[in-house]
Amino acid sequence: MTAKDDYILKVSNLNVRFQNQIILDNISFNVKKGTTMAILGPNGAGKSVLFRTLLNLVPYNGNVEWSEKVKVGYVPQNVAVTDMPISVKEFLSIGNRINIENALNLVRLRDKSVLNKRLGVLSGGQLRRLLIAWALIDEPNILLLDEPTTGIDMDSEEPIYLMLNDVKKTQKMTILLITHDIHIVQEYTDYLLALNKCVTFFGKSEEIGKIETQKMIYGEPVCVEALKREG
């Protein structure tokens, strides 16, 4: 299905179960074009599964409605590159893709010598930038980033989010990113979807500063739908 109007993605009543275990329970949210949405929640909350569902990698019930002609770029949290004899250039060109230089410029990996390096010898920050470049080569409208700063030190985190902010502005990109960091939510995102199998909060990111919002996210999980019904 395709979403019309200002929204690039509309999700309603999304349910995912693995072997009768509830992984995602009745998830509903919308994503506006050109915005950044953070997805926050404890380990096992279903954040990565949500991305895999949006990418149609796992079976689900409910509606996932993308806007017409949407191109999705995906950056997974974990990749196995340590032992791989594959160079940066070879990795980026998988799928006969040619727009490599532009993508590397966008993620600020401008040093040409990086092209001949083996993936396994890149620093954590370089690898994360490279994965983002890989997703950008196909010129997507929306990027799904699963913890884009996993495994890198705090000093290297900020430049990556600044870079993503620039990419969002210059490429008119929509970004969904999974994070555990409240600071990142406040500084770099417009909307927040908090998950704990169900939606525990969905609204503007700035509201994460409020005590009641933090109670909703970090307190005893109460699904938003349940709150509405009670209200």
Binding site: Y74, M84, P85, I86
Partner: protein
Amino acid sequence: MGISAGYLGSILVLEKMALVGDALSHVALPGLAIGILFNFDPYIGAFAFLFASAVIIWHVQRVTRISFEALVGTAFTLALAIGILIFPDLELLEEALFGNIALITPIDAVAAAVISVATILLTRAIYKKLVLAMISEDLAVSKGINVAKTNLLYLFLISLVVAIGIKITGTLLVGFLVIVPAIAAKNLSSDMSRYSLLSAVFGAIGAFSGIFLANFFSLPPGPMVVFSGIAIFAATIVVNWRMKITT
């Protein structure tokens, strides 16, 4: 044959399935025995057993998440037990275990060459897809790659190559042909094209020099192929240690 074993083995080594390749070759034993017992080409039986075992192991692993090593170890010992029980006579069993290059006819050689070229070409067509799936299966699937089908095709091709190799080196040593050229190539490679090329080249050099030495000294070819391969592997360790190619 050496070229195709080296080339296809390069994927097996990256998949961390090197031991799987070795153990898998022994699974061919009951297939060989059935071929001899029922009077058809035993290497067709070997291939059928190899492919069926590879598919079953691969599928069970995906469903149960039990490690490949454990599953192949089980299948390998089971196959060995069945093979020993049903092999019609001990001389034939010895031939199956250690190979006998003298029994290879010109038709066998041509068939092996044709199958080797075909497996190389087909593997080349899916090589990058296999590598991307190893880096991240989700990334590969999100790019529209059918990882299950690609892996299945690869298992089919590696089963073919191992079945051919058995005729030369026997089931005990054929695993070597798919593992050692690739790990030697890995010592000297920081990119994929060099790695796959060197795997094929080392496979060819190992097989050719081993058979040449075996003829020269009137020794069995299987062990000589192993010694040549080990010499290449040792040399690459030294070269990498001195030149730091992979760091």
